[in-house]
Structures are given as C-alpha cells and as structure tokens.
C-alpha cells in the first residue's frame, strides 16, 4: 500500500505540474496574442478558450499538486480528484465543441450533414492542452474506483 | 380507520404532503400523482402549493404538495402558505415527510402537526441516502412510539411509494401524552397502539 501511494504521488505530481504549466502557458499565449502550435498541441489565443480555459487548467494543476502529499488521506486525495474533474470538464467541453463543429457540413456545402470522412477529419490533431492531458488524468478515475471510500 | 383512538380521523379525500425543505416532497408528489411538479435538488423549489389527484381503491384523493418548512410559525412566505393549507384542510390526511438522515430536524415540524390534531402518516424518505451513510432508522420502533403509521421509502427510485399509498387509509391522530408514556417504555402494550388496527406494521 505504502509503495503504491508513493508511486501515485509521484505520478500525480508530474501530471499536476504539467497541467499547471500548460494552463499558465495558455494564459501567456492569450496575452501574447498569437496562436501557438507545437507538435500535436495547439494553444488557442482567444479570451474564452485561451485565457479563461487556461485559468481553469492552471487551477486544476494547482489542486492536484496541493493533494500530492499523503495522497492516501481522503482529504488530500479529494483535491487531486477535484483537479482531475476540472481537467475533464475543460477537455470534455473541447471535445464536445469538436463534435458539434463536425456534424454539420461546411457553410458553403449544399448538404446539411457532413460526410463521414469530413466528420472524422474534424477530430484530427492538433489538440488543446486539456484534451492532451485527458488520458493521463484518467488514471485518477481508476484510482477513485480502486480506493473508493474503503481505503482511507 | 374505524378504530382510531382520537376518533376524528380524516375522511381521506385530501392528502397534504408536508416536511422540511428538500426532503423530496415534490418527487413523492410526482410519484403519487403523475402530475409534473418541478423537482430540484435544492431547498425551496416549491414556493407555492401544487395540486394533483390520485385514484386508489376507487377512491379519489386530492394530493397537495405544500412548500417545505421547518416550523409552522409563519416566518416567511413558504411557511405562511403551509399554515394556510393546513387550516383549509383540517379534515385532510397529512403525510409528514421526514429525511431519514435528518429525522431530528423534521420531527419538530412533525410535533407541531401532531399537536394540531391532524390525522397523519409519516413517510420516512431518503432511505437510500441513509443506507449509504450507514444511518439505521428503526421505523417499527418509531411507529410504536408515535402511534401513527411510519413508511420507510425512497421517492427518487419509487421504493415504498406503494406502501405509502396503501397506508394512507390507516392514517390516524396521535397525542403527545401517549407518545411520552410509550417513549418511557412503561406503556408499550397500551390499547392506544393496538387501537391503530390494521396497519399491520405495529
């Protein structure tokens, strides 16, 4: 149990740090004004998805980091979970936005619904930071199931 | 119905749902009537009363969803409405809805209803939450003490709602003196309880 906690602490520490930095980067990119694309990641530069979303992502990272010590304690673990939930919220919204944008055909196209390849291409990279963080933070969902309310 | 100790049992045509805010009265109301009352997970959703009907054993009940209150002292609009509803239906059956996780709080209102001499049934709602929180409420003992039917139920899933409907006819009046003596245990076999015949739950 102890070693598991230590391993989880280290993992959450790394993810939390990455989340915090990406969130801050989003805010900086908004302040800078130009969109930034690095590899499969794109950082939006508008106020809503950039600054506001970035603020939430940064909060999420800070929450995760604040819960890293003694992660076996439910009070601490809850902060990590809350941070993960915030990441899920932002990522979920980004993915929902992609879905909504790829269902209808483009403005000039005669059809109403997008073709299947067109629909799928709507999900091509690059992605927003929160979406990239999503798979890593899902580990925490497994931990919720595993630890639940029993092991505290 | 026939042998109620208080003698003045309601004619059963009007049923008032009363209880603290956010104990699930509106959800129960929807279960009972099929009418759509607005249900939300925060206190104070029902600020006005809602009416609906329930037809059961060829008898029509008028169900009234009273806004949630902590007492009958007319401190805000919701309480004023609740008092007005009670006064207008003195011969109705009152279903006092208690939150099983917080029965102490709901019982204050319960006693005010008892003291006003209404014929009543207690619905012990949110048994599921109580179970999750590992709170066990002894409904049988509660019924014994109070001398009125007590139905454990979970309105959100519909569990126990049927029992409640069946027992509406067995609603009866109780009095504080009787409760006191039964509580101290020296009158466990008084006729007051067996007088409440037919609930099948005593």
């Amino acid at each position: 149990m102890k070693t598991e906690h230590t391993a989880v602490s280290i993992y959450v520490g790394i993810i939390g740090m990455a989340t915090l930095l990406l969130g801050l980067a989003q805010i900086l990119v908004f302040a800078g004004g130009t969109e930034l694309t690095v590899g499969i990641m794109t950082v939006p530069n508008d106020f809503f998805r950039g600054a506001w979303g970035g603020l939430v992502v940064a909060f999420a990272g800070a929450l995760m980091l604040s819960g890293v010590r003694e992660i076996g304690d439910i009070q601490q673990f809850s902060k990590v979970v809350l941070g993960a939930i915030l990441v899920w919220i932002i990522a979920g919204c980004d993915i929902f936005a992609m879905i909504c944008e790829s269902i209808p055909a483009g403005e000039e196209a005669p059809a109403f619904f997008n073709s299947l390849p067109g629909f799928i291409s709507g999900f091509a990279p690059p992605y927003a930071p929160a979406v990239l963080l999503l798979p890593f933070s899902l580990v925490i969902a497994c931990l919720i199931r595993r630890w639940g309310s029993s092991d505290t | 119905m026939e042998g109620n100790p208080g003698g003045d049992a309601g004619n059963g045509s009007t049923v008032l749902l009363i209880g603290n805010p956010n104990v699930g009265k509106s959800m129960l109301f929807n279960r009972l009537t099929g009418v759509n009352a607005v249900v939300s997970n925060y206190p104070g959703t029902t600020v006005d009363f809602t009416r609906g009907t329930l037809i059961m054993h060829k008898k029509t009940y008028e169900i009234i969803d009273v806004p949630g209150t902590y007492s009958l002292e007319a401190k805000d609009l919701a309480e004023e409405v609740a008092i007005k509803m009670l006064n207008e239906h003195r011969d109705g059956v009152v279903v006092v809805v208690l939150d099983a996780t917080l029965i102490e709080r709901g019982m204050y209102l319960l006693f005010e209803v008892i003291e006003r001499g209404f014929s009543l049934v207690v619905a012990l709602n949110m048994m599921d939450v109580a179970h999750d929180k590992q709170i066990a409420v002894d409904a049988r003992r509660l019924q014994q003490i109070l001398g009125v039917p007590v139905v454990p139920m979970t309105a959100i899933s519909g569990e126990g709602v049927k029992d409640l409907i069946d027992i509406l006819r067995k609603a009866c009046v109780t009095d504080v003196m009787g409760i006191k003596s039964r509580l101290s245990g020296d009158a466990a076999e008084t006729p007051a309880i067996s007088g409440c015949t037919g609930c099948g739950r005593c």
Binding site: - | S40, N41, I135, L142, I156
Partner: protein, 404 residues
C-alpha cells in the same frame, strides 16, 4: 395542547436516541468533494470551471451545431427564397409585414413575420433555450446550485441579498418569468424587491443571450461585463436606499447525487413546452406590431422625436428607437433588429446593453404585477433612473476611452 420549544426538542432527542443508529460513519469521497466545492479557496476555481463549461456547451450546441450548422442554412437558403418567390406582389403592405425586404438574402435582414420571426424563434432561440434548460436542470438536480449559493453568499450580502439569490439570477438567465416567482425563496420584502428589480434590469434571458451570441459574437463579452457591473453597483445602491432588513439565513446543502434522467427529461419537456407556447407567438406577434408601426410611420416619428436623447445622451443612432419598442415585446427580437443597423462596435455594445436594461418584456411585466403592483411601480421607477444613469455612464466611459 401546546408544547414549549424545549419540551419538543427534549422529546425529539429521546425519540431519535431510541430509533436512530448511525454506525461507524466514514467520510466518503463525495462528502469531501462536497466540502471542497463550498470552501472559497477550492470552490471558486470550481465555480469558474463550471461557468466555463456552461458557456462552452451553450456556444457549441446552440451556436456551432444548431444555428450556424443547420438553421442558418435552412432558413437563408431554402425558406427565405421560397417565401420571397411564392408570395405575390413585393410592393404590398402584406408582403412587407409577412416577408419583409424583397431583396434580403438572409433572415436577419428581411424582417417579416414568416422570415425573421420564425428564424429568431425557431432557428436561434429554441436551441439556446433547450440547451440552457438541460444544463440548468443538471446543475439543479446534481446539488451544485446550493453550493454555489453558499459560495456567493458573502458577495451577495453586500448587495442586500443572500446566497440563495443566485437561484433566481441563474433561472433568470433562462427566462425572467420563473425567476420572478423564485424570488419568493428570499425572506424579506426588501430582498424580494431588490432581486426582482435587478432581474428585470440586469439579467438577460436565454433567448436574448442566444440571439446575442448569433448577432454580436465579438462584443457579447462587453455586454455581459456592463450588465454584471450594473448588477453589482445598483444592488449595492438599492441595499443602502431601501429600508428593511437583510437577515442571514442558514443555507441547507443537500448531498450530491446523479440526476435522475426521467426527472431531467420531464423538467426539460415542461420548460420547453412552456417556451413554445408562450414565447413563439410573442415573437411572431412582436414582428407584426413593429412592422405595422413602421408602416404607420409611428416609429419614424418617435425616432425623430427621441433623436436628441439617443444621440446626445446615450450616444447611439436614432434608428435604435424601433428595436427599443420591440424590446418591450421580446428582447431577442430587439437584439436581432439592432444587429442589422449599421453601427460602430461601441454603439452596438451600448445599444444592446440599453435594450437589456430597459423595460422587462411583457411576460415578465405580468408576473411582476402578480407579485404586487406597488413593487412593480417602484421597480419601474428604479428602472427609469437606471436606464438614464447607466446609459449615460456607458456613454461617458465611451467618450473617455475615445470610442464614442
């Protein structure tokens, strides 16, 4: 037979001692999360995140998917040309009322009952209201709303309200009508009056938000900022001016639980049905009235008469008179009308803010009347002051920033 309060509690203690057993209760993850969402340090970030989600989903579904994705195409490319083609004689007044501008190529500009009226009601506002109600219901049923109330309590106390004022405020973002009824959860007359007045003036309804998102997507943030600041300022002033008390209340926080989907579906259906029954006829009727007033020259006359006020005091073009009249019937309609008047960004922001804060729509007016005519008269008095002061203030800010 009356018991005293102490006797009652003594009895209750004894009964619960005999009937309730709470076995070794341990805090669950849900409980701790519940606490965390109420504490300011952790709760405010969550609130900011929830607000983000609310807005993001609203924009994606109502804006990108429904309105821009399907409705605009359907109305502009199929319905509009079809109606323009089949309705006889573009020169007649019937054509003007029902179809509008014969050369318009989109439903915003045509402004006929069957073109813009239907487009605004069905194409823009219906999806907005639908998704709003869905999210509202989830917030309500999950148990987040009362937690938000606890969080907001400190701030809302400064403007004479308490945490629960957040409930009518958020409801008002959907529609002001149920929001006015919800003010009854506030305890004193003073609180109810402040809340009702702020609702009527500063809280834009879902229909209006939907159309703003479509018509003025770039400046909507400013409109919200102005409305939010106004809500704060005038709440504060009203709290100082109006006599009465502003008592603390205990906020009861229910446990989090997953919303029961049938309850969500039922509520959604009820609310949407209400919208279709009440709002859609109002929109169509509103277009009809405004068009008749245009034909009769009433609007022309009014805008000439009011021109000095609009141009010099508020700094907006005199053409905004027409939309302001329509605003009394439906605010969404008014914003749609404003969107096609050529204006600078500043003028657009201030005229949309004006439309929002100026008179509540007819439906809200009627429910406010039900809550008491004295309150309504007082609220209208406050409203007139606010429109002049705040409209002038925004103009002043614009002048100082050099954009007006």
């Amino acid at each position: 037979m009356g018991l005293s309060e102490d006797e009652r509690w003594a009895l209750i203690d004894e009964i619960s001692r005999q009937t309730v057993k709470s076995g070794g209760y341990k805090q669950t993850l849900g409980d701790v999360l519940g606490e965390l969402t109420v504490k300011p340090l952790t709760g405010i970030p969550v609130a900011i995140g929830v607000l983000y989600a609310f807005w993001s989903i609203f924009g994606s579904f109502a804006g990108a998917l429904m309105t821009d994705g399907f409705m605009v195409k359907f109305f502009d490319r199929y319905l509009l040309p079809w109606i323009q083609g089949m309705w006889p004689d573009p020169g007649t007044w019937l054509y003007f009322i029902f179809v509008g501008d014969p050369v318009a190529d989109n439903c915003f500009e045509a402004f006929g009952v069957l073109t813009s009226g239907l487009f605004v009601a069905i194409g823009v506002v219906l999806p907005a209201v639908l998704i709003f109600y869905l999210m509202m219901t989830v917030l309500e049923d999950s148990g987040y709303l009362p937690r938000l109330a606890v969080l907001m309590d400190t701030f809302l106390h400064k403007i004479g309200l308490h945490g629960y004022a957040i409930v009518p405020t958020i409801l008002g973002l959907g529609c002001n009508v149920p929001a006015v009824t919800a003010t009854r959860i506030l305890e004193t007359r003073k609180q109810r009056f402040i809340m009702m007045t702020l609702l009527a003036i500063f809280v834009p309804c879902g229909a209006q938000i939907g159309i703003m998102l479509k018509a003025i997507p770039d400046t909507i943030g400013w409109v919200f900022l102005y409305l939010l600041i106004g809500y704060g300022i005038f709440g504060f002033v009203l709290n100082k001016v109006i006599p009465g008390s502003n008592p603390e209340i205990l906020i009861d926080v229910p446990p989090y639980h997953l919303p029961a989907w049938e309850n969500v579906a039922k509520k959604m259906w009820n609310r949407t049905k209400g919208f279709l029954k009440e709002a859609v006829p109002f929109v169509l009727f509103g277009v009809l009235i405004v068009n008749l007033l245009y034909l009769g020259g009433v609007i022309q006359w009014l805008s000439d008469a009011l021109a000095p006020l609009f141009v010099y005091w508020f700094g907006v073009p005199k053409e905004t008179t027409g939309p302001l009249i329509a605003a009394f019937l439906r605010k969404d309609l008014a914003v749609a009308q404003l969107a096609v008047i050529p204006m600078t960004a500043y003028q657009m922001i201030s005229s949309v803010v004006l439309v929002s804060i100026y008179f509540p729509c007819v439906a809200t007016f009627v429910v406010m009347l039900k809550e008491g005519w004295k309150e309504l008269v007082a609220a209208v008095g406050v409203l007139i002051c606010v429109v002049f002061l705040y409209g002038g203030l925004i103009h002043l800010i614009g002048i100082l920033l050099g954009v007006a």
